[in-house]
Amino acid sequence: MLTANELDDRVGEFITAHRDTDDALGYLRARFDAGLAWVHYPVGLGGLGAPRALQPAVDARFTAAGAPSNDPGRIGIGLGMAAPTVLAYGTEEQRERWLRPLWTGEEVWCQLFSEPGAGSDLAALGTRAIRDGDEWVVDGQKVWTSMAHEARWAILVTRTHPELPKHRGMTYFVCDMTAPGVEVRPLRQATGEAEFNEVFLTGVRIPDAHRLGEVGDGWSVARTTLMNERVAIGGGAAPREGGMIGIVADTWRERPELRTAGLHDRLLRLWVEAEAARLTSARLRLQLAAGEPGPEGSAAKLAFARLNQDISGLELDLLAEEGLRHDEWTMRRPASVDFTTRSPGYRYLRAKGNSIEGGTSEILLNVVAERVLGLPAEPRVDKDAAWKDLPR
């Protein structure tokens, strides 16, 4: 297997060879073809079969060289969720068709999983797919779909066998977002913005060739997707005061007239918690680097959500009158969440989403309790009954 030094040499050669390229897309395609996109992917699919741990150094070197970026913020769902699933379950043709334009950013992906009636209980979903020759006809409604309004493709889980127990009657597809019958509507949220969408699927025809995994095996495929979502969250390196605590700490330092004794101890408590969360993430990164992926990822997401909420609540209390004043409620379509540029009220409201999106804190606590602590599961009333007979 490739060593870190050999890999570094290859990156250096690539950078030198493409030094004078003006064509960003061409550069990214070439980088993919050289196996330097995601080095742990197979040769021919943007990788070199190298250890995953070598990727950060590669990215850092390209960044340092000022190389064109594939804008990972914009194509996060493709990179983090669609790609590993296509890699794991896709046919040769599917991998070759989808992975390259996914990685280069030519094609944006979104995720059609959650439904109004199936959020935490994703396996209850009811979007129907009925086979019709070489195609499937899909009807239903999905929700909380970020980037749907810009996406070319979607990963989609459907119900194909309502008469089976819920975990056994699902099938997983890749859905063409430009296909007739796909309607995307913005979903406005408490902040006034719409990061997300509702997606209505009405008689959408999907070729069987766009199925991922076996018919009826959609739950397993979806779990692969979601496992990769969990890994993607919460592991980022941060300096001390790097998160939201830094904003309020700076306000505290710069505006002594706002300080009160009661808020002081609360600020210090949150400062300590933020530092604890930071050290925990640092420890998690060491574990991942040492190849011991622990369940601390869920812990990090739980802690991050609570911290953001508590800190932004404190910030409003500190600002008092200024906290009563907001910047704007305009309906916008932001491409990503930025906690630093908007008003404190925005931070406060947006942080409420942190314990709902990507798995509610309640669900994550269940995951920790059952999978980590090994506490017994609740009595299940929905495991063996046919999906169609479940109360909803």
Partner: protein
């Protein structure tokens, strides 16, 4: 009779509540509310008319000789509860509580009667974040009866006919009634965190006021108004918390996940039960604060500090649970939780945050830092 004897609701209060709730249920639907709050007219004028002219809600704490019903702040607090429950945009707090309390204190009979009858509305020109019990600031200066200065973040001032303004004059503070619709008064709408309660910055540039009281009396009127506002805000917070709990419970009874109503899971169940315990305390604390201001009880300052320290935190917690336990839809613009969250958080900032009230309490009950 001690204020602790007035913690229950009288039959009259229950009747009053029921009338107001019927009205609000009809007029303040979620759809109507959402349609209204982003317009230039967040208040529903018809609602305000019925509330003041038919129900007489604005005159509850005004005596009968001034066109009120001669009830008290306790009955007014019941109105606040219901307005909180519905997050109804009305100028009730500014006009029927803050301005009315100030005008009562200076015996401004005619104007008081106008407010009590709903013929006019008013607001007290102070920042909504002013802390009762803290030293009053006077951002407006009076030269003769000509006023100059800027007051920021005034509640319910956008639609007010009259502004009650405490200004610093050469001989000390003076309380004025200022017609809002005159050249020397500019009202600048503020984008407020709580869309259902608009705030306004008011710039006085040579506005003409009518002096109502001077010196200590003016100062005391302002202090009383803030104390009354803070006391009654606790009742609004009670209404907010109650509705957040009730609507969450209702949702969790019908929402199914994993083949069960989500309200059958013990995690959220215990949280909601604990919230109910806290809300039972909010009710007692808010009733006590209202009873104290109604009776001008010597314990009023403590009662209000306790109420604002306690009720703010529980109302915010209730709204936060309402958002969280509604899951995804709790975070959407189309559902009610965000409106309650914004109101609850804004109310917590209004009239002083809990920590500021605890600091005041420390002095009142001899627990020095």
């Amino acid at each position: 009779m001690s204020a602790t004897e007035h913690l229950l609701y009288t039959e009259d209060e229950s009747e009053l509540r029921s009338g107001i709730r019927d009205l609000l249920t009809e007029r303040v639907t979620l759809a109507a509310l959402l349609a209204r709050i982003e317009t230039n007219e967040p208040y529903d004028p018809k609602l305000w008319r019925v509330l003041t002219e038919q129900i007489g809600a604005a005159g509850l704490a005004v005596d009968e000789t001034h066109g009120g019903s001669g009830a008290s702040w306790r009955e007014t607090a019941v109105v606040m509860e219901e307005l909180g429950r519905s997050v109804a945009p009305t100028p009730f707090l500014g006009s029927a509580v803050l301005a009315t309390a100030a005008l009562r204190a200076v015996h401004a009979g005619a104007l008081l009667a106008d407010l009590a009858g709903g013929r006019r509305s008013a607001s007290l020109a102070v920042s909504f974040a002013s802390v009762p019990g803290a030293r009053l600031r006077y951002p407006v200066r009076a030269d003769g009866d000509t006023l100059t200065g800027t007051v920021t973040s005034v509640v319910d001032a956008g639609a007010a006919d009259v502004l009650v303004v405490a200004a610093e004059a050469a001989g000390g503070p003076v309380l004025y009634a200022v017609e809002a619709d005159q050249p020397g008064v500019e009202r600048r709408p503020v984008v407020s965190l709580d869309l259902t309660r608009p705030l306004t910055d008011i710039v006085f540039t040579g506005a003409i006021g009518t002096a109502l009281a001077r010196g200590e009396q003016a100062e005391a009127a302002c202090a009383t108004a803030l104390t009354t506002g803070a006391a009654l805000l606790a009742s609004e917070q009670l209404g907010i918390a109650e509705y957040c709990l009730e609507s969450t419970v209702a949702y969790m009874k019908t929402r199914h996940q994993f083949g069960r109503p989500v309200g059958s899971f013990q995690g959220p169940k215990h949280r909601l039960a604990a919230l109910w315990v806290s809300i039972a305390q909010v009710r007692a604390v808010a009733r006590y604060a209202a009873a104290c201001v109604a009776a001008d009880d010597p314990d009023t300052a403590v009662a209000v500090a306790v109420a604002q320290a306690h009720c703010s935190e529980i109302a915010v917690r209730a709204a936060e649970e309402c958002v969280q336990l509604h899951g995804g839809i709790g975070f959407t613009w189309e559902h009610h939780p965000h409106l309650y969250l914004k109101r609850a958080k804004a109310d917590a900032l209004a009239f002083g945050t809990p920590d500021r009230h605890r600091a005041i309490l420390a002095r009142l009950v001899d627990l020095p830092a």
